[in-house]
């Protein structure tokens, strides 16, 4: 019996494709580095309470604006709070905003985009106009509006970032659906009398998954930077909750005296978003059917 199973596995096209994709991915050192670093940030965010040497709010008044030392790896800020610990805690807001905003945008944009591309006609035209309306409100303007209506918070910043990321995703999903509806297997399903819901969920959606994964990996770093921007402006995470954007906003008052306070959180944002971008670029190549290597 086991013999048959192995034989089936070698012929099984899905398993073969998975193996091929994994092989292609592992041949791209930058993508692998991106994945590893991104995972490090995600783990840091999850396990911040365990890893961080100090809690985010612990003040050490004997070491205000201290430089790096054994006690404080990256020094301390104006209230004597450990910068390294705050960067670890701050990863939570960034990762949370990055991932949730992207998921929110996906949940909203993908069904709309698929419907527009699959049905075309007036549905497509209406959705295209609505997308244009969404595009006319950049995420910062949406965030400003939400902060006015609901008050500034990480949740509202995440919603604003999700809305901001949606138009591009709608267009991508629409484009994919437009191409996929012409595929033979979709026509075959139609001929077999499959319902629209079945065609969209069983044939169209699974076949655009790789494109969507790449888009998600690119949307996450954009949202991470967006969260930092909003928190920096006071429209996102509210102090004393640590966030990379809040840390940079605080550091602005000490640019001449303690420039290191502005340097470390920025490097964290940069590395975190670079890792996701490297991963996204790598995945795009891996999934690209023109890729031969």
């Amino acid at each position: 019996m086991s013999y048959v199973d192995t034989a089936a596995a070698t012929i099984n096209p899905r398993a073969r494709r998975r193996r091929l994709l994994r092989k292609r991915f592992l041949r791209r050192p930058l993508a692998v580095i991106g994945l590893v670093v991104a995972l490090v940030f995600i783990l840091a965010a999850i396990f911040a309470p365990v890893i961080a040497p100090y809690s985010a709010g612990t003040t050490d008044f004997n070491a205000l604006l201290a430089h790096s030392s054994r006690h404080h790896l990256l020094g301390t800020d104006e209230l004597g709070r450990d910068v390294f610990s705050r960067i670890l805690w701050g990863a939570r807001a960034s990762i949370e905003a990055g991932v949730l905003a992207t998921l929110l945008a996906m949940a909203f944009a993908v069904p709309i985009g698929i419907v527009a591309g699959y049905y075309r006609g007036w549905v497509d035209a209406v959705i295209a106009r609505l997308t244009d309306v969404l595009l006319a409100f950049p995420f910062l303007i949406v965030a400003v509006g939400l902060a006015a209506i609901l008050g500034p918070s990480l949740t509202n910043a995440t919603i604003a970032l999700g809305i901001g990321a949606a138009p591009a995703l709608i267009r991508v999903a629409r484009g994919e659906a437009l191409a996929l509806r012409e595929e033979d297997y979709v026509r075959a399903a139609v001929a077999n009398g499959a319902s629209d819901v079945r065609i969209l969920t069983r044939h169209v959606l699974p076949n655009m998954l790789s494109t969507l994964i790449v888009q998600a990996t690119v949307a996450i770093p954009a949202a991470i930077i967006g969260e930092a921007v909003l928190s920096f402006l006071g429209l996102g995470v509210q102090p004393p909750t640590p966030s990379w954007g809040v840390m940079l906003a605080d550091a602005q008052s000490y640019l001449s005296g303690a420039p290191q306070l502005a340097i470390y959180p920025g490097i964290a944002i940069f590395l975190c978003s670079l890792s996701f971008n490297l991963l996204g670029d790598g995945l795009r190549d891996v999934f690209d059917p023109r890729t031969t290597r």
Binding site: A136, P138, I141, A147, A148, P221, A228, V229, L233, L255
Partner: protein, 318 residues
């Protein structure tokens, strides 16, 4: 081409209309409503009712909307909390942001397109790898942080440039540019990174196309092939990308102006929210959304001029 632009203009009008409804509805969704914002600490129901009546806020919403949009179309966006006309405040702030945006787009386009062309022409060589890597860094770096780093380097340490502030071009052109150079670079980097990647891939496509081979076969110089044939076609992509990046540019202007203390439209947006000045906020958001749509329409005009397929047939390529 006329038909194409007419259709685009019609679509833009619809978008502005929908956007105005969103703005209108947003202000009505404010906690306590505009009446309480105007009444300040005075929460007496009779005062609120009086304000509601005076401003017509007790009328049906569609009536209120028509009245509001009618005023807006005549350039009347109401009075802010200091009783200054919102439209006037916005009009005085916009030129500053337009200058910043113009310089940023200029810097971003020049760097992005040149780097993209070089990377595509020298594909696989060191300069290609360097440009591609720089673009990836440019995409991943938070631009406002880059701004802070530039202030530390060029204003605090080297003292070459002012850390912030604004001098109008009319008053002192040199000082104006000194104040604008760092903000423009900060705002332009993101654009240049996106443009570099798009230009590179568009150029790679054009360089592999038949008409480029024909141009080479005709014996045209390499410069003529790249400049007149490949690049011209890649510019279509570039225009689209610039148009799509407008939203990012508006968001970017807000934070760049905040960091460099530039009293432009972006900073006005933050002032409106920080002072809870809802009339001002409403005006700012409406103008931002309309401005976005108008500039996108201009991008479509440029696009149709560059793209012969639209110029000749008038068919939508969208």
């Amino acid at each position: 081409m006329g038909g194409f632009l007419l259709r685009k203009a019609g679509a833009a009008l619809i978008v502005v209309f929908c956007a105005s409804i969103v703005v209108f509805a947003g202000v009505r969704a404010l906690p306590g409503g505009p009446a309480q914002a105007l009444g300040g600490e005075n929460r007496d129901p009779s005062v609120v009712a009086a304000i509601n009546h005076a401003y017509g806020l007790d009328r049906p919403l569609p009536v209120q909307y028509v009245k509001w949009i009618g005023h807006a179309l005549r350039g009347d966006l109401g009075l802010d909390s200091r009783q200054l006309p919102v439209a006037h405040t916005i009009v005085t702030r916009i030129p500053i942001t337009l200058e910043l945006a113009f310089l940023a787009v200029l810097i971003g386009t020049v760097i992005g397109v040149v780097a993209g062309v070089v990377a595509a022409v020298r594909r696989g060589k060191a300069s290609d790898h360097a440009a591609t890597a720089t673009a990836l860094v440019g995409l991943s770096v938070p631009h406002f942080w880059l701004g802070l780093m530039m202030i530390i380097a060029f204003a605090v340490d080297l003292q070459w440039l002012p850390a912030g502030g604004y001098v109008s071009f009319g008053a002192h052109p040199i000082q104006n540019l000194e104040h604008m150079v760092m903000p423009a670079i900060v705002l332009g980097t993101g654009l240049s990174a996106v443009l570099m990647r798009q230009t590179r891939s568009a150029m790679l496509n054009s360089l592999g196309a038949d008409y480029v081979r024909t141009a080479r076969a005709k014996g045209l110089s390499e410069w003529a092939v790249i400049g007149k044939h490949a690049l011209r076609n890649s510019l279509i992509t570039v225009t689209t990308v610039v148009g799509l990046q407008l939203g990012a540019l508006i968001s970017g202007a807000v934070i760049t102006e905040q960091i460099f203390v530039i009293p432009g439209f972006g900073r006005l947006t933050l002032e409106a929210i920080n002072q809870r000045d809802y009339t001002l906020l409403q005006g700012v958001v409406l103008v931002a959304a309309t401005g976005y749509v108008v500039v996108n329409l201009l991008v479509d005009v440029v696009y149709s001029l560059l793209n012969p397929r639209i110029r000749v047939s008038g068919s939508t390529a969208a």
